[in-house]
């Protein structure tokens, strides 16, 4: 009886894994088909849509990188009379605020909002809300302090809002410090799989491209109607993604709106960052899964993709459980488990945040014109095994948070050194 139940559980687990693998196979085929049209850009240079734009930069102790980002802001090609940059100095104890003040003296469109430790320091969502209150632009873009955008990024991102159904846009982050070490190389590979294939395919197929909280933006009216960012969420970006779709709008991905980012460069920092992402994503899943199912404004394909996206950080846990269940069944001589077992190891060669399997990552790297980075694809297995632990801990933390009723939010900041660049 127990073996039969375990067999059913294992069949369920492997079915879910197979659904995800098929989904990403379809994504890969979609992007390959699209690339054959040789469409170099998905932006429209002839379109002249120039609304007022506010750029929010939440920063907490970012003295190593903030100057470089503000330099890039001064080089933006977007008309300066329609642009404002608001740097939120959120309870920084270093020179972040002072550096930003120097720029405000030289450039009128750059403003600094200082938040002391009494009202500030409550996390990125809180800092963004504070900046949002002071902003005036019709479109609000967000950049993290370690990002370095191209000069034409605002135009590329903003032109998608010419369509009134678009509620938010997302550009493409590219890892700047890729050659630094193995961690940064693997993150670069992950970004390629996630953005060059995953986000692009979701945009082409009319599914749910995800707003990543940086290198992207949203329509002011939508965030106002939603009452700002939810400060109890660790990943306010994923939360906003679903809020936008539940409100009946869509998100567009702009692949050629590239922006360079500094990836974490130690396994410890990787753990901290991914743990936050996993916890936040799970919080959003608990908050929105039923709303997505019940929504009358979302199409069926958006609901299906939305639910798969919401559960993506549960996949490493499910794979771990499948591994143990399958092993137990095979040792007991189950032929069903033996036949379905191959799906479990395939998952080991996937990236967690987007569940991009090895073939998706490889094709993404190729389409990006990369020749050697895909040779690291076999190493995905170590990143996945590491993420199994991260996501399992995150799951128990979310459960504990739910039991205790904790909604405390704080800056869970990634340290940025401002070193290393591959492109600039």
């Amino acid at each position: 009886m127990i073996i039969e139940i375990l067999n059913l559980i294992f069949i369920f687990f492997t079915s879910v894994i197979t659904i995800y693998l098929i989904r990403h196979y379809v994504f890969t085929l979609t992007v390959l088909k699209q690339s054959k049209t040789n469409k170099a850009s998905n932006t429209n240079p002839s379109l002249r849509y120039e609304p007022t734009v506010s750029i929010l930069i939440p920063a907490h102790n970012e003295e190593n990188v903030i100057g470089k980002l503000l330099d890039k802001m001064t080089q933006l090609s977007y008309p300066k009379n329609k642009l404002e940059v608001i740097m939120v100095d959120d309870a920084s104890s270093d020179n972040t605020g002072k550096i930003a003040e120097e720029y405000t003296k030289l450039y009128k469109f750059i403003k600094v909002l200082h938040r002391g430790s009494r009202i500030g320091g409550k996390g990125k969502a809180s800092a963004l809300n504070a900046g949002f209150k002071h902003s005036t632009g019709e479109i609000v873009l967000c950049f993290d302090a370690d990002y370095l955008p191209h000069s034409d990024i605002v135009k590329k991102l903003v032109e998608k809002f010419a369509d009134p159904n678009v509620g938010a846009v997302q550009g493409r982050p590219v890892v700047l410090n890729e050659p630094h070490n193995m961690v940064t190389r693997l993150i670069a590979l992950e970004r390629i799989g996630g953005y060059r294939v995953d986000q692009e395919a979701r945009d082409i197929l009319g599914l749910i491209p995800q707003f990543g909280g940086t290198v992207g933006g949203f329509r002011r009216s939508i965030l106002e109607s939603l009452g700002g960012f939810d400060e109890s969420m660790l990943t306010e970006d994923t939360d906003l993604t679903f809020q936008v779709y539940l409100a009946g709008y869509k998100i567009r991905y702009v692949g050629d709106a590239e922006c360079y980012e500094e990836a974490v460069d130690t396994w410890k920092a990787y753990w901290r960052q991914r743990h936050r992402w996993a916890r936040g994503h799970m919080q959003v899943c608990f908050k929105h899964a039923f709303n997505v199912l019940r929504s009358k404004k979302m199409k069926l394909k958006e609901k299906i993709d939305g639910l798969l996206l919401l559960h993506i950080y549960f996949m490493p846990i499910l794979t771990l459980l499948s591994f143990f269940t399958g092993s137990l069944l095979i040792l007991n001589g189950s032929s069903i488990a033996g036949a379905l077992w191959f799906t479990v190891p395939v998952s080991f060669y996937s990236f967690v945040g987007n569940y991009a399997p090895f073939f998706e990552v490889g094709v993404g790297a190729y389409l990006d014109g990369r020749r050697r980075i895909q040779w690291l694809t076999p190493l995905l297995i170590f990143a996945f095994l590491y993420n199994m632990l991260i996501c399992t801990k995150a799951f128990f933390d979310v459960l504990a948070g739910k039991l205790v009723g904790s909604t405390k939010s704080d800056w869970e900041k990634t340290e940025h050194s401002g070193n290393g660049n591959r492109y600039i």
């Binding site: 390959l32 690339s35 040792l331 190729y366 895909q374 690291l376 076999p378």
Partner: protein, 128 residues
């Protein structure tokens, strides 16, 4: 030149079919299915990328030969294991079999991509 290319391509295709038959006759159905999965992934994805068909068929053939050779080793490993440890080893082998196969499929897949001309190079070649 075209005729020569076709003849070489056909020889490679023949080699792939022979590998599949050999895997079924010399090893077992599992190894044939593994090679088929590798072929499906390779044909449906890598064949859509830039580069000559001949080069891709060559890489596919090389993959099949490598796969057949490794599966033969795995098979004899399983027979030896069964001899020493009995039925328990069969269960253990079922568990590690797909992992062992992915250990050649994923690197072979990644290496193959590196041998194709870059996306930008292919566009430039097409323009020329």
């Amino acid at each position: 030149m075209k005729t020569l290319n076709r003849i070489v391509s056909l020889s490679f295709l023949e080699a792939i079919i022979l590998c599949l038959i050999a895997s079924f006759r010399l090893i077992n159905l599992q190894s044939t299915v593994t090679l088929l999965i590798f072929n499906i992934l390779f044909v449906s994805l890598i064949f859509q990328l830039n580069g000559s068909v001949l080069k891709k068929i060559f890489m596919l053939t090389a993959g099949n030969i490598v796969g057949l050779f490794l599966n033969l080793i795995f098979y004899y490993f399983s027979l030896a294991g069964y001899d020493y440890f009995g039925v328990v080893f069969n269960a253990f082998y079922t568990l590690i079999y797909p992992i062992l196969n992915l250990m050649w499929i994923v690197p072979f897949w990644s290496l193959s991509l590196g041998f194709l001309p870059k996306e930008q190079e292919a566009i430039r070649q097409a323009k020329d």
